[in-house]
Amino acid sequence: MYVYADNAATTAMSKTAIRAMEPYFDTIYGNPSSLHSVGQRAAEALMEQRAKVAACLGAKPEEIYFTSGGSEADNQAIRSAALLGAKKGKRHIISSAFEHHAVLHTLKKLEREGFEVTLLDVGPLGLIRPEDVAAAIREDTALVTIMYANNEVGTIQPIAEIGAICREKKVPFHTDAVQAVGHIPVDVDKDHIDMLSLSAHKFHGPKGVGVLYCRKGQPLLTFIEGGAQERGRRAGTENLAGIAGLAAALEEAVSHLDENAAHMTALRDKLIDGLSQIPHSRLNGDRARRLPGNVSFCFEGIEGESLLLLLDAKGVAASSGSACTSGSLDPSHVLLALGLPHEIAHGSLRLSLSEYNTEEEMDLILKAVPEVVAYLRDMSPVWEDLEKGVKHHAI
């Protein structure tokens, strides 16, 4: 048995999504911009997919812009709001310290272009406080961008409250909802969201396709020049097969949201309870306000990359926020934002589930992880010092 528990990185495609894509390779292969009937058939199909996606988010079809994925949607939303704000003399942006790099790197670049960025503290449990957002908003705030749910520690942010604050203060609000859509209820109206990014491959859709939702009335600058596609905001012949796969996967995920969440939550809680038995371990992120499929742990005295390579050899695919998995020397900015010291953050493990996972697979994980942790601790000079009392346990 091999257990895939890295669904926050990407998911296997659903059979429904694969089937939905197939006609677009050789049957409905037209260019939606062509005037002939082959093209018009594709244009109609595109319209249908747009309507399906909109319905899943509580949006209108004309508010859906298809992109190459979540990162592109984040880049476009943030750059657009920033540049439009700057035209009115607003050069301040509010975000959080543990956003995805698609957001943080875009903000870094804007800082170099003269914008001022406030990154809100996420606290030890990885939750942003709406009152902090309210307090940070200024006369010259051009945008608030806060992720719906964190990709590493799985915490779900109080998006509806933050959205209401932004709406009241008339500041555009964007949310990177890549980890949330298809997993928990997301409604752009109820949540007072002006712009939202999502990515198909996080909910059993294909890679390379995503959506930027942009509320009617919220201006959006063109991101890719060269054509009238996506209402002139994103040129390039539409990835119709990908879009059909996205729409089918999203519809499927949203229609089974509650049962999938219940299944995953049960498996998640089993893992959390089991892994908590390992001495000197800690769950990262708030236990209750977290994604149904997210389990994030730190184990003292070991390093994450060796942990996940040995887990792979034992039949478990997981991920780690360890420095060594990313090629940088600093551990995950998310775990550091939670206030964890470097030496603890190096020993992190993220298991992310989908509705395809089974209870039997959780048993395998719960057997493999303690074994590997014990093996690595046994060879760790850090663990030796902790056990001998030369150093004090931090967790």
Binding site: S306, L309, H342, M379, P381
Partner: protein, 141 residues
């Protein structure tokens, strides 16, 4: 694959793993903040490293380079062991990804630190620069 077969072999089946109670020299390098610490133990008889053990906290390549470094010095005269370079460790492992080269530097330093400890314990004179780190680790220096 991120790593060569040799790296994976030494990572999954590390040679000379463990502690040594009666070591003649012990060297520990790196720090937990950077994510890797290596501790090497040597046993010396008649100027020969007769046994060597290691314990490592770190990534796959930190464990593999530790393992390979112990293999390369085991049974060698101490004068030869101090000439171990990180490049020799990298070559013996059929290469390392660029961002992992610092692990091989640590492995070289750990061996030298153990030898230095042996020299110090036994009052043996040595040239400091022979045991100085050959390269700069971007994290730990």
């Amino acid at each position: 694959m991120l790593y060569s077969e040799k790296v994976m072999d030494h990572f999954q089946n590390p040679r000379n793993l463990g502690k040594m109670e009666d070591a003649d020299g012990i060297g520990e390098v790196g720090n937990a903040k950077c994510g890797d610490i290596m501790k090497m133990y040597i046993k010396v008889a008649d100027g020969i490293i007769t046994d060597v053990k290691f314990n490592t906290f770190g990534c796959g390549s930190a464990i593999a380079t530790s393992s390979m470094a112990t293999e390369l010095v085991k049974g060698k005269p101490i004068t030869e062991a101090v000439k171990l370079t990180n490049q020799a460790v990298v070559e013996a492992l059929d290469g390392l990804p660029a961002q992992k080269i610092h692990c091989s530097v640590l492995a070289e330093e750990a061996i030298k630190a153990a030898v230095k400890d042996y020299y110090d314990r036994n009052g043996i004179c040595y040239d400091e620069k022979d045991l100085a780190p050959a390269d700069e680790c971007p994290c730990c220096h």
